[in-house]
């Protein structure tokens, strides 16, 4: 319990340091937030334009797609606020220039520090309009959900974050051997973006692939379906099992990577 308290204190400290660093260029800070909000609005405009021409995408109406879109962006923001940039970009750079050494000797769990060293406060601010969008989607859907459905939604959101953390960690760990993993990171970014569309847009093999093999459905589709009351309980179990297994594998792979690390600093 004492250790947990220490890590909470450390996390708060990392948040403060990140805020100070990012607020150093204030116009830049606010412009980035503006840009991110604009991006979301424009993507929304894109969906609106699509739904001008079509009533529904498979089983998904516009209001339901709005919920899916808001859910995807909530997960996406939570990921980029916390571990994504740290693992995808900062960790490979630390390995490349040998600066990981200085982190290794600190009296703190290296995976914790590598994942949360820099908290993206810009995305934290941009996250607020995303919550507004979720509220708007729920309003359009008439708040038609039960307490249990809401609980499942929350649990599946956390599960999606666990799944994404494991995938990002596996990709970042590869840089212990290659020193570069930005390319794989880019493919991962593009793949996860599939999650913001209803997977009904795919047919046959591709639909099977994105739901079960590369289970992108568990990022936003499964939580959204849980809230809409249309999620198959079997798939919910599959989603939880998948993420748990992947986290175990990712942590094991990270330990292997650490053993293979050889410093390059002078």
């Amino acid at each position: 319990m004492k250790a947990l308290g220490r890590y909470v204190t450390l996390f708060v400290l990392l948040c403060r340091v990140s805020l100070m660093r990012q607020m150093a260029y204030r116009p830049h800070f606010f412009l980035m937030i503006f840009g991110k909000v604009i991006r979301m609005v424009l993507l929304l405009l894109f969906f609106q334009a699509v739904f001008f021409k079509v009533e529904a995408l498979g089983q998904w109406t516009f209001d339901q797609v709005l919920l899916l879109f808001a859910t995807f962006h909530m997960v996406d923001y939570l990921m980029s606020i916390t571990f994504q940039r740290n693992l995808s970009y900062h960790l490979p750079a630390l390995i490349q220039n040998g600066n990981l050494d200085s982190r290794m000797i600190l009296p703190v769990n290296l995976l914790f520090l590598s994942s949360l060293e820099s908290i993206d406060m810009m995305d934290l601010v941009s996250f607020i309009p995303c919550l507004g969008l979720l509220a708007y989607a729920l309003y359009r859907l008439g708040f038609a959900f039960t307490g249990l459905q809401a609980l499942m939604y929350g649990l599946l959101l956390m599960n999606a974050l666990m799944f994404l953390f494991a995938v990002v960690l596996i990709i970042a760990t590869i840089s212990f051997w290659t020193t570069q993993s930005a390319g794989l990171g880019r493919i991962f970014d593009d793949l996860t973006r599939i999650g913001r569309y209803p997977l009904d847009i795919f047919e046959g093999f591709w639909k099977f692939l994105f739901i079960y093999v590369l289970p992108l459905a568990l990022i936003a589709q499964a939580p959204s379906q849980a809230l809409l009351g249309s999620l198959d309980p079997g798939f919910a179990l599959y989603a939880f099992g998948c993420s748990t297994l992947l986290v175990v594998l990712a942590v094991g792979f990270w330990k292997m990577g650490l053993r293979a690390y050889s410093s390059t600093s002078s």
């Binding site: 840009g35 405009l45 894109f46 699509v50 021409k53 390319g183 493919i187 847009i201 795919f202």
Partner: protein, 268 residues
């Protein structure tokens, strides 16, 4: 000057191909994102049960998305010429100023070299994808249209350079220009017509968009390629692009002169 330009082109091509595997994976990522959008539109046409949406048949839409994807991913949004603002902020502009070629020319050649390199790689990648959609592609065979398409594309690359360079030159006054460039890139993707043809937007929104230079980046070249615009209109639009380029070039020159007069750099 041509020799210097060719030398810069060679240098940029060597730099860009340094991390080959990583680079190819990044390219694959860009192609993947376009494929996803293609799948989305295949579904939209399937579920709508209509042969034409927003004035585009399915074949025209797929061609638009793939063509627009090449232009957007490889020629436009990947090149924001950040070297300009970096040189100003870090003070390395001082070294560039004493060289026998203006830094402004170095930046423009480096930008065009980067775009050419990415464009060539992108084209080869998209050519592979196009093999899977041969039945759903529109091939332009009119040589005049192909020439006008190439002219519009070159104008788009220069226009994009001038827009971003003006933002980069603000580094003489502000400490970090990334926020402005990021916002502009986001706006360009939609207002330029990269992810959806502008004809899909409500008429009022379309009218507002055409007042800006952005539709000339993706939407206009693809309209030429898909034969959606007649010759007289193409020439009128090219004249408007020339005006935009003149205005932006003047703005760039003004910012460069004013910026240089207040530029200071310290260090050893």
């Amino acid at each position: 000057m041509i020799r210097k330009a060719l030398f810069i082109f060679r240098l940029v091509f060597l730099e860009r191909s340094a991390y080959r595997v990583n680079f190819c994976l990044e390219i694959a990522g860009g192609i993947l994102s376009i494929l996803i959008v293609v799948c989305l539109w295949l579904a939209v046409y399937r579920f709508s049960g209509r042969a034409e949406l927003g004035g585009f048949t399915l074949a025209e839409m797929i061609t638009y998305l793939l063509g627009g994807g090449v232009i957007n991913s490889f020629l436009l949004t990947t090149a924001e010429n950040p070297e300009t603002s970096q040189a100003i902020q870090e003070g390395s502009l001082s070294n560039l100023l004493i060289q026998p070629i203006s830094p402004y020319w170095v930046w423009i050649f480096r930008d065009l070299a980067g775009k050419s390199f990415l464009g060539l790689i992108g084209l080869s990648g998209y050519a592979i994808i196009a093999l899977f959609f041969t039945d759903l592609l529109v091939f332009c065979t009119d040589p005049l249209r192909l020439i006008l398409f190439a002219v519009a594309l070159t104008a788009a690359a220069l226009l994009q350079y001038l827009i971003f360079e003006a933002l980069n030159l603000l580094a003489f006054w502000i400490e970090n220009t990334y926020g402005i460039r990021f916002t502009m890139r986001v706006i360009l993707e939609v207002v330029g017509g990269a992810i959806i043809p502008l004809s899909f937007f409500p008429p009022m929104v379309q009218k507002a968009f055409v007042l800006l230079p952005f539709p000339y980046l993706v939407y206009f070249p693809m309209q030429i390629y898909l034969n959606k615009i007649d010759l007289a209109e193409i020439l009128a639009q090219l004249a408007r692009i020339a005006v935009w380029m003149a205005v932006l070039a003047a703005l760039n020159a003004f910012l460069w002169r004013k910026g240089l007069s207040r530029y200071t750099a310290m260090g050893d």
